[in-house]
């Protein structure tokens, strides 16, 4: 388990991270979200011991993170880096060795991850000759080929086309099955929402919300109901509801935000009684909704 407890970090007079506390269970896939400058990268760097916290503790299974432990972690920074003159195979072998892999396991893992990320045909080409997307896959392979206990990926999907993004998703799912704890930062909410089991949204260096999607949704005060047809009778019923707010009506569908505690069966009965109801759907807030609200609170 990765545990951050009251972690602070400043750069001069700028407080980048302020009292961040969260825990990630082993094998979980964790989404670390926040706007630019929220403190995500600083937090990730502190987890990897690249930066030392001013205050607070970071532990992995109860132990502070040291060089030996870090060797069993993996990291894909937001700013991609690659040795342009090294061949793909050489680059992967170098990072594999740094992560403790040795022959013959090393050779096997290089081949396995080149195949998994579909870069085998570039094995003997200098990395600089590869497309940006393929370079990114090489970097992912360098970070993940030792099947780390903890893999931190900062914006792993940025710059990837849908096909390559899907390839990366498959590779991450493979790591999930191997028990790797994944920490992802991304602005691609859809992919994060479907990949991660737990989330933490930080802004201004502070944790705004933290928990599983269900937990975050339970904290969300409203739900959206979609009602069809968009008749005045049905609209009147929704308008009479305490705490209801109309959202945009599109394509003949009424959309209203209603309190989370609303009695949906009772509302259904009222709507049926009021008119010819063809659709009533309760929509849970998306991760994007939760994110935007959390960021809004932060600002």
């Amino acid at each position: 388990m990765l545990e951050l407890t009251d972690v602070h970090r400043s750069f001069g007079s700028v407080a980048a991270v302020r009292g961040v506390t969260f825990a990630i269970a082993s094998g979980a896939t964790f989404g670390l979200l926040g706007p630019n400058g929220a403190g995500k990268t600083t937090t990730m760097r502190m987890i990897l011991n690249i930066l030392v916290p001013d205050r607070g503790t970071i532990t992995w299974n109860g132990a502070p993170i040291d060089g030996a432990l870090r060797r069993r972690f993996g990291y894909l920074p937001e700013e991609r880096g690659i040795y342009g003159k090294l061949k793909v195979r050489e680059q992967m072998a170098y990072f594999g060795k740094l992560h403790g892999l040795r022959d013959p396991l090393l050779d096997g893992r290089v081949a396995e991850w080149m195949e998994r990320l579909e870069i085998g045909q570039y094995a003997d080409r200098p990395c600089a000759e590869l497309s940006k997307g393929n370079q990114q896959k090489v970097q992912v392979a360098c970070a993940a080929m030792h099947e780390p206990e903890l893999l931190i990926l900062d914006e792993p999907f940025s710059g990837l086309d849908p096909v390559n993004a899907e390839t990366l998703l498959r590779a991450l799912r493979h790591l999930q099955t191997k028990g790797t704890t994944l920490v992802l930062s991304s602005h691609q909410m859809y992919q994060i929402e479907h990949l991660c089991t737990d989330f933490c949204i930080i802004a201004g260096g502070e944790v705004r919300v933290h928990g599983s999607l269900d937990q975050l949704r339970r904290q969300w005060p409203t739900r959206t109901v979609l009602v069809e047809p968009a008749s005045s009778a049905l609209r009147d019923v929704l308008e009479r509801l305490g705490g209801a707010h109309a959202r945009a009506t599109q394509n003949g569908t009424l959309a209203y935000d209603v309190p989370q505690s609303i009695d949906l069966p009772a509302l259904a009965r009222e709507l049926v009684a009021a008119g010819d109801l063809t659709r009533l759907e309760r929509v849970e807030p998306s991760l994007s909704d939760i994110y935007l609200r959390a960021i809004g609170e932060a600002s």
Binding site: I50, L51, P77, G81, Y83, L86, Y94, L98
Partner: protein, 415 residues
């Protein structure tokens, strides 16, 4: 193999395969070959254009002069004293002659004049020295043959410094020290710039963050510097090997059997002629490593502060100054190795590798001074590594414009 070994191996292979290292090594060796062979080669070329002379004058005078200058000049022709001063056409009539030398008896001695194609290049002083017996003979009305043996007067110089038994070996050591100081300068500059380029490449290609997330910045820097030191040592050994082989006459296809470095016409200073104490060789090795460590860590730290390769020059420039300063001080030390300024400079870190080594090569330096210099430099090297290591660790993650020194100190305080 630990991370240091992995980084060292990867960096060593990258450097040894790099075009810059190969070209630097080959060019350096070529330069040594050239410097070794050039004097002998040019001596021969120059000799052919300055050795041949035409003697004009009284046959008895010409005969006497011909005998006196036979060692250094070829008398291609003799002729009577012309009625008018010779012209270029007169000289050109004698193929390969560099000058027409007219000889006559004057009221106070020999009246000799040189009419040369190239007045600056002609060896006038040598000719004058060799004609002095003839001048004395005319003035004292004796024979040149009687005077000449008296001119063979030797002034022996006995060195009171036990290091060298005579002037020739001291001069040889001085020449050798000069060559080694140049090699030291080149090895430090080339290899430290190699470290700098390597760090800058990792920083600007943004791979540095990935590396420091995998291994410690200290191991990363140590691996790089050790690899550069190893390739630098190989480079130095190649250069020294070429220099030794050339001077020892093994490689003599260019310079011939007499090839080798010459400080004067008569004093060979090739490596083969040198009896250099083992202590000086050990000192060279020690000071090369101390100097290399001091400069390489500084170059690595400086390179970690830049975000674009275009900024390399702005951080490399100031670092070149102490290397250049050390080199110039070493040249000063060659001339006055015990001057107060040289003594002080030989104890100052960054300068010591050049200055103390040079002093040790040319005079006997008191042991306490050597030990003190090494001790100061070891402490200084540790301090530089510590400080540069911190800058390197922080600098690798800093992007944007190269920071000011105050900003670096601020970050170091809070890191």
């Amino acid at each position: 193999m630990n991370d240091f070994g992995i980084i060292f191996e990867a960096e060593f292979v990258r450097r040894i395969k790099s075009r810059a290292w190969l070209i630097g090594t080959i060019l350096g060796a070529a330069m040594i070959l050239f410097l070794s062979a050039a004097p002998a080669f040019f001596n021969r070329v120059v000799a052919s254009s300055t050795h041949a002379v035409v003697l004009a004058g009284d046959p008895a005078l010409v005969a006497a002069a011909k005998k006196l200058i036979a060692k250094d000049f070829d008398v291609s022709a003799t002729e009577p004293l012309p009625a008018a001063p010779p012209t270029l056409a007169d000289l050109n009539a004698h193929a390969h002659a560099a000058a027409i030398v007219t000889l006559a008896r004057g009221p106070k001695g020999l009246d000799a004049r040189v009419y040369a194609k190239d007045a600056g290049g002609f060896r006038t002083t040598r000719l004058r020295d060799e004609l002095i017996p003839l001048n004395i003979a005319i003035a004292t009305r004796t024979t040149a043959a009687a005077i000449a043996p008296l001119m063979e007067f030797t002034l022996d110089v006995e060195s009171l410094d036990a290091k060298f038994h005579d002037e020739a070996s001291a001069n040889s050591a001085r020449g050798f020290a000069y060559v080694l100081v140049i090699l030291l300068y080149l090895a430090i500059i080339l290899n430290c710039q190699g470290v700098m380029t390597s760090v800058a490449e990792e920083k600007t290609s943004r791979i540095a963050e990935l590396l420091v997330a995998t291994t410690s910045s200290a191991q990363l820097m140590a691996g790089k510097i050790a690899a550069a030191g190893a390739t630098g040592t190989i480079q130095l050994l190649v250069w020294l090997g070429v220099g030794w082989a050339t001077a020892a006459g093994i490689v003599n296809s260019v310079g011939g059997p007499s090839g080798g470095m010459h400080m004067s016409d008569t004093t060979p200073v090739g490596l083969g002629a040198i009896d250099l104490p083992t202590g000086v060789i050990v000192a060279f090795v020690i000071f090369f490593f101390l100097g290399f460590l001091q400069y390489a860590t500084m170059y690595a730290a400086a390179a970690s502060l830049i975000s674009r390769t275009e900024d390399l020059g702005s951080v490399a420039g100031p670092l070149t100054l102490p290397v250049l300063g050390g080199f110039l001080l070493a040249n000063w030390a060659l001339t006055v190795p015990n001057a107060t300024g040289v003594l002080i400079a030989s104890q100052i870190p960054l300068f010591t590798p050049f200055v103390m080594f040079t002093r040790m090569a040319v005079v006997t330096v008191p042991l306490w001074q050597v030990i003190l210099a090494i001790a100061i430099n070891i402490v200084a090297t540790i301090a530089i590594i510590w400080f540069a290591g911190r800058i390197y660790r922080v600098g690798l993650l800093m992007y944007g414009r190269p920071p000011k020194f105050s900003q670096i100190l601020n970050v170091l305080r809070t890191s």
